[in-house]
């Protein structure tokens, strides 16, 4: 047995800290929460308000622009049609809105952090272990305090999704920029490019396939969070899965599970398509 005299616990201080935050700063967090919620509701309103066939056509156009493959484009259309026929259209749009919001914020946070990590070794040394913690900490540990601060529902779900999903984007942005050929960068420097120009004109474009792979991973990980997000009241496909399994309605759970898989395949193929370097333009 481990000697009890060496025990120490951060349990009570942490509990009191969270209590204090909720009691004294609750309104501040609510204000942040409302701001995020407004944007999210806007995205959701657009997605749920648009007729279903317009959404499907929009996805097919995106798939075509990304891949230029006829079969894949038609496949995307059919798969989304299946989601609708399973009666999951509304839930899918809610999940899509949540994902879009989480991905947008992830890009805003992830790419600049990735660039910083690539440029400064010290930043990288701090960021990498933090990313490890973010990816391994069980999400319920931060979901419940997030819920107490930001209220039940979509906002804590978006935040938790970002915490889990942003690491690959940061890692791969960092990696992509580091992998850019030094000679190319040296040549740009020799031609008198400023550091900003080299970054935006040379490094980022060359790193783009890697960064897109990171974005693709971020979207996939965000999708894997939808069921966890539903445990704190985020509606959408995750809630249907949760409801299905919690009531032993295996069929219902599987239907919604298929919906999540379809959404994943569609988003994966489209982002991968955009990520590949285009040979024929």
């Amino acid at each position: 047995m481990f000697p009890e005299s060496l025990n120490f616990s951060i349990r009570k201080p942490i509990n009191h800290f969270v209590d204090m935050l909720v009691t004294n700063y609750g309104s501040t967090f609510r204000a942040i929460s409302d701001a995020i919620l407004q944007v999210l509701l806007l995205i959701e309103g657009v997605l749920r308000g648009t007729p279903w066939w317009v959404v499907i056509i929009a996805f097919m156009v995106l798939a075509w622009l990304g891949t230029r493959r006829v079969v894949l484009t038609i496949g995307v259309g059919i798969m989304l049609l299946v989601v609708g026929m399973l009666g999951l259209w509304d839930q899918t749009m809610q999940t899509l809105a949540l994902m879009t919001m989480a991905t947008l914020i992830s890009v805003v946070i992830g790419i600049p952090l990735g660039i910083l990590a690539a440029k400064f070794r010290s930043v990288q040394r701090i960021i990498l272990p933090v990313l490890d913690v973010m990816q391994t900490m069980p999400s319920f540990v931060y979901l419940i305090p997030a819920l107490m601060l930001f209220g039940l529902g979509k906002v804590p779900a978006v935040l938790a999704t970002i915490i889990y999903a942003v690491p690959p984007l940061i890692r791969l942005t960092d990696l992509g920029i580091r992998q850019v050929d030094h000679e190319v960068v040296e040549a740009s420097t020799a031609f008198g490019g400023s550091p900003m120009r080299i970054l935006f004109g040379t490094e980022l474009p060359l790193a783009m396939p890697t960064i897109m792979a990171g974005l693709n991973q971020t979207i996939m990980m965000a999708l894997s969070m939808v069921v966890v997000a539903s445990m704190i009241g985020a509606r959408g496909l995750g809630e249907t899965v949760l409801n299905g399994i919690q009531t032993l309605d295996v069929g219902k759970g599987l239907e919604a599970g298929i919906g999540i898989v379809i959404l994943a395949i569609v988003l994966d193929r489209i982002t991968q398509g955009f990520g590949k370097p285009r040979r024929f333009k």
């Binding site: 349990r11 909720v22 529902g153 399994i245 009531t247």
Partner: protein, 342 residues
Amino acid sequence: MKTNTLATMVFTGCLAGLPMAAQASYCGDGNTLTFAGIGWESGDFITKVMETIFAKGYDCKTDTITGNSITLENAVATNDVQIFAEEWIGRSDIWNKAESEGKVQAIGDTFAGASEGWFVPTYVVKGDEARGIKPVAPDLKSVDQLKDPAIVSLFSDPEEPSKGRFLNCPSGWTCEGVSTAKLEGYGLGDSYTNFRPGTGTALDAAISSAYKQGQPILFYYWSPTAIMGKYALTQLEEPAYSDACWANLTDPAAKHEAACAFPSVKVAYGVNSEFAKAAPEIIEVLAKATFPLDQVNASLAYMVDNEVDAAKAAEVFLKEKADIWGAWVSPEAKDKISASLN
């Protein structure tokens, strides 16, 4: 030599078997007594108490399997779990079906006087001078008044601001279906979102968070619970219970045009029927083991105030309240349990 050994083995085998047969007991035969690891506090506490009683007093190998109530009820029907320590009888379709098929049965009363309903924090009605909270709905008494647009806007759902938010049970809990039916029956479906928090923890966290910030919140809750002991909550009045109304509410396929209060509840130990036949000595204890409701509330409050888990609260209860649980068990078991605690 070989035959000799065999004979000896058979002989000793018989000898070893004889005393077993003489005082055949479920645990004595090496069976593991598996409890349902119920997620809510009172169930958790009671399970821990009963587990200790059987482990220490009756030499049982015990185990607890966690899960949500429907999964665990199903496990009792299949005898993977033997005891569900806090079964709210008549609430769950899965349980009712298993009971009518004779696979499970209810033993004794876990506690008497449990209640459930729709609640708002008392400061919504009466205010809280100490915290500087003004009463925002001083006339709110019953569910009929929830339709009033002023009340609806009080409980406004940030995700759908035109509607109020009713915080239901997590999906998969039996009360979720009933509260959903009630929402429809009271004609509140259009003015309130039926918000399911996903998990019991999320429900508790949402209530605590709102309470600490003094915000209005409308939710389903039940007693005995730590939340009920810790916070001042007011139950909204509902039309009186009737069997016909309840039958309608519990039928998910029916159309709900009216609704009524939850019936008073019988809470018992749910056990597997085969197990009950095999373990009369355990059933005998369960039949007597009724926790006084105020004792359950006190233990739950103890858990919250001292930030300890159910196992610790169970230990304290067993140490200090031998007069309560001592009456449930045999004198020898009582001595054994007491001895194990010191």
